[in-house]
């Protein structure tokens, strides 16, 4: 193959594709965002489960809660410490974490996650927009 022009174009395209993330961000720092806790959340010290667990698995808990409430009609969640919670996104989660933009959205936007929670749960009057 002696198609010099074609080979050069190919290599340039290859390099452009591979280095796209480097060029797109161009060294701009993008650390994980800090979430803000409301006074109420700070006062409660611990969420339904530990912070580490909630960071990783909160979506799983929410899904399980929805399933338990909607399918089985049970509303009480007991955490490993024996503390009871009302399984409700609007009344339990968003009660403390009423600051959606500073709490939920920051990480979701950062990780490009678009949960459909708020497709329905727009009724919480405590949410400060």
């Amino acid at each position: 193959m002696s198609n010099r022009k074609g080979v050069i174009i190919g290599i340039v395209v290859f390099l452009a594709v591979v280095t796209f993330p480097f060029l797109y961000n161009r060294g701009k720092a993008a650390p994980a965002p800090e979430v803000e806790l409301t006074e109420k959340a700070k006062a409660a010290k611990q969420c339904v489960r530990s912070t580490d667990y909630m960071q990783r698995e909160h979506m799983k808990i929410l899904d399980l809660w929805r399933h338990t409430v909607v399918r089985r009609g049970e509303r009480i969640y007991v955490n490993p410490q024996g503390k009871e919670f009302n399984m409700s996104l609007s009344n339990t989660c968003l009660d403390c974490h009423s600051n959606k933009t500073e709490f939920c959205d920051r990480c979701h936007d950062y990780a490009s996650v678009r949960p459909y929670c708020w497709d329905c749960h727009i009724d919480n009057p405590k949410e400060s927009k």
Partner: protein
Amino acid sequence: MNKRYILSLIAVVVLFLIAYLGVEAVPASKWLFGILIPYVALIVFVAGFIRRLLSWSRSAVPFAIPTTGGQQKSLKWIKPSTIDSPSSKSAVFIRMLLEIVTFRSLFRNTRMKLKEGRVTYQLEIFLWVGALAFHYAFFTVLFRHLRFFTHPTPLPVQLVENLDSFFRMEIMQDFIQIGVPGVYLSGLVLLAAVTYLFLRRIFIGNVKYISLASDYFPLFLIFGIAFTGIMMRYVLKTDVAAAKELTMGLVTFRWSIPGNVSSIFFVHLFFVSVLLAYFPFSKLMHLGGIFFSPTRNMRTDTRAVRHVNPWNYPVNVHTYEEYEDDFRDKMIEAGLPVDKMPEPQEASAEDEEPAAKPEEPEAGAADAATAPEEKE
């Protein structure tokens, strides 16, 4: 049992253990698996890939060997097969494009079978389906992963994410809960396709016969990548924001190892690094190789255009005319027939085109291939 795939499987298991145990036992090795190895792998990938392309671009194409899949363009009243036997550059472009995006040559796969005592050739479509599913799923997965390497995530990536997770499925059991985050179809298709491509090599005898460790290893490795990725997303879980902080650190050169990134993430990243570093030296280079395949990128115009072998060198030939000039007198003396009667003149014009007379046996092997065309 076959040591070719057992060895490949063991290799991937060992790679898993290296990363998993390394990160679990020595927390400081997260810098190795999370920062250093990915960079080394990327450099090896890019340099190796380009080196391979350059070496291919320098290699000779001695003969015109385009694969024909139809009637070559010839006389006006014979209908040519434009794409399957492309005679122009644009037709070659279309053929290449369709080959790359739809794998037309795999679609032609047939299987020979004896049916009621007769040999039949049946369409064998599963390799094509499997390969298509595998490559598109892999591409989608790769594209989706840009969300970890760009901030803010570009709109096309978000659109692909939405499209990929449109199918909501939920498993709500006591021991396993899957459903949120939304299940990406591409991941499951990738895992299924790579499994099929592996099983095919095990269960089809003649494919197994030609399968080497270098065929099995990438399949196991890609299986490992897909599997760890799926496990990380749906079952074992990791803090996604922390994971992105690490990957963004890689592309912005502001490195950090957030504490709450789980070990499975490092295994996943290590597998990807190994795949990247292995890529330029493996059969996976068909990614670049397809563009350099003379069977695909040449025009089927062998009847219209002479392909000059770049290995041709000027061959010293001694033509019959020269031979006769040397021995004419002796030939006449011995009563042998001669082409030219001995007029008082010397032959000198023959030296003009030494390589163009193939009658002489000394013409050499390299020239032999082009010889028939030269008679015209």
